[in-house]
């Protein structure tokens, strides 16, 4: 994953280095600018069994700030925000690998350094008994739920 570049960042930012599960690292720039999901939208993506993005819908593209071409074929951690605790994603992967649904509140990082909160559901896609990938659908959470998640994640960092 390429490091972020300050030229793409809108406004004041802080710097963080993320280390992903596969050992790779990425330098990211993070701002305090929030972009709420517009009402009535669902953000949809699909991945292969390894978590590499295979499909995204228009709302996904718009919210992430990337172009569709930049998203297809890259690991889903392209959206990982440094405020998200690793424990949340560990729980996600342990749950879906067992064939179960996962739900949770996720703070995602935009290409411009800003963020957006989602309530995400991830489910395994099973065809003829075989796992072919995962689908995630995200929707707009309430302010009160975001506050709760913020408080919880701060303790898990």
């Amino acid at each position: 994953m390429k490091d972020m570049t300050p030229d793409d960042i809108a406004g004041e930012y802080r710097e963080a280095t993320l280390q992903y599960h596969d050992g790779s690292k990425r330098l990211v720039y993070v701002t305090e600018v929030e972009t709420p999901i517009p009402d009535g939208r669902l953000i949809v993506s699909r991945t292969d069994p390894q978590g590499i993005i295979t499909h995204v819908n228009t709302s996904f593209v718009e919210m992430s700030g990337y172009r569709e071409e930049d998203l297809i074929g890259v690991p889903h951690f392209i959206l990982r925000h440094p405020d998200m605790p690793a424990a949340a994603f560990k729980d996600l992967w342990e749950t879906v690998k067992k064939g179960k649904k996962w739900h949770g509140y996720v703070k995602n990082l935009r290409r411009d350094g800003g963020f957006y909160w989602v309530y995400a559901t991830v489910i395994p896609n099973i065809r003829q008994g075989k796992l072919i990938g995962y689908t995630s659908v995200r929707r707009k959470p309430s302010r009160s739920r975001i506050k709760e998640a913020e408080a919880l994640y701060a303790t898990l960092q």
Binding site: G40, V44, S59, R127, S142, S144
Partner: protein
């Protein structure tokens, strides 16, 4: 053998004769006797579906999940360019300007259309409105839902977008859409069951080209859309995966 066909009860009643004409057309096209059975409500239709009475179902996305994943139905066609979207509407004079202005204990009025109810409840989540917090009442038709809002007996009404558009101007003038869904990926689909599965190809081919035929064009338009489009199994599986993520909470 006569096959049995049913249509999700959420169609606009204006198209009722259209479905019978369509059934006549289809019987000729595939040279098989088909009986069309329509229901006024989701509950009794769902019971008949669970008794495996049908071989052909024009299903809403909610029922499609059960028919495909549990009853061995396969997708054939869906309406071209038409997705199922929902509208949350309020009285014209409601103080609410956006979802987040709504209180958690508002009075909701809806039909028993499961897709619309699901989509609309999701759209209300940013206001922390849940099945438990709200007072939900049910009416048989969207016109009755609208009237209840207009009379001030409910604060929020749920509508299927196309039926909202079909409400009379007089009614619509009294209402205001607060939010409408832009999901784009969820739609009704015509499914065939195991007993009729051997005819899937011919049904699919006949329907996918009927809008291009002189007689067929009028018949499909009388269902409220322009054409049928062939649907692949995986397209429907994907839609069902989406429905699965939305139905679970």
């Amino acid at each position: 053998m006569t096959y049995n066909f049913t249509v999700s009860p959420d169609f606009n009643p204006d198209y009722l004769p259209g479905w019978f004409i369509f059934n006549t057309w289809l019987q000729k096209a595939i040279d098989e006797p088909i009986h069309l059975d329509l229901y006024n409500d989701f509950e009794s239709q769902r019971k008949a579906i669970s008794e495996e009475r049908f071989d052909l179902v024009y299903a809403n996305p909610y029922d499609a999940t059960v028919l495909v994943r549990e009853k061995g139905f396969v997708p054939v066609v869906c309406p071209m360019g038409a997705a199922d979207e929902a509208i949350v509407a309020v009285h014209r004079d409601s103080p609410a300007k956006q979802v987040e202005d709504l209180n958690t204990d508002m009075r909701i009025v809806t039909t028993d259309d499961p897709d619309v109810k699901m989509m609309c409840m999701i759209m209300l989540e940013p206001a922390d409105i849940t099945r438990e917090s709200a007072k939900i009442s049910y009416r048989d038709t969207y016109v009755l839902v609208a009237k209840e809002l207009i009379r001030g007996e409910a604060d929020i009404g749920f509508f299927l977008e196309e039926t909202y558009e079909d409400l009379s101007n007089v009614i619509r003038q009294e209402l205001r859409p607060l939010v409408h869904s832009q999901i784009q990926l969820i739609h009704h689909v015509l499914l065939v069951g195991p007993r009729l599965a051997h005819k899937k190809e011919i049904i699919q081919q006949s329907l996918a080209r009927m809008h291009a035929e002189e007689k067929g064009k009028g018949v499909v338009e009388n269902l409220g859309f322009d054409a049928w489009k062939a649907v692949e199994q995986e397209e429907t599986e994907f839609m069902i995966d989406l429905m699965d993520t939305l139905m679970a909470n």
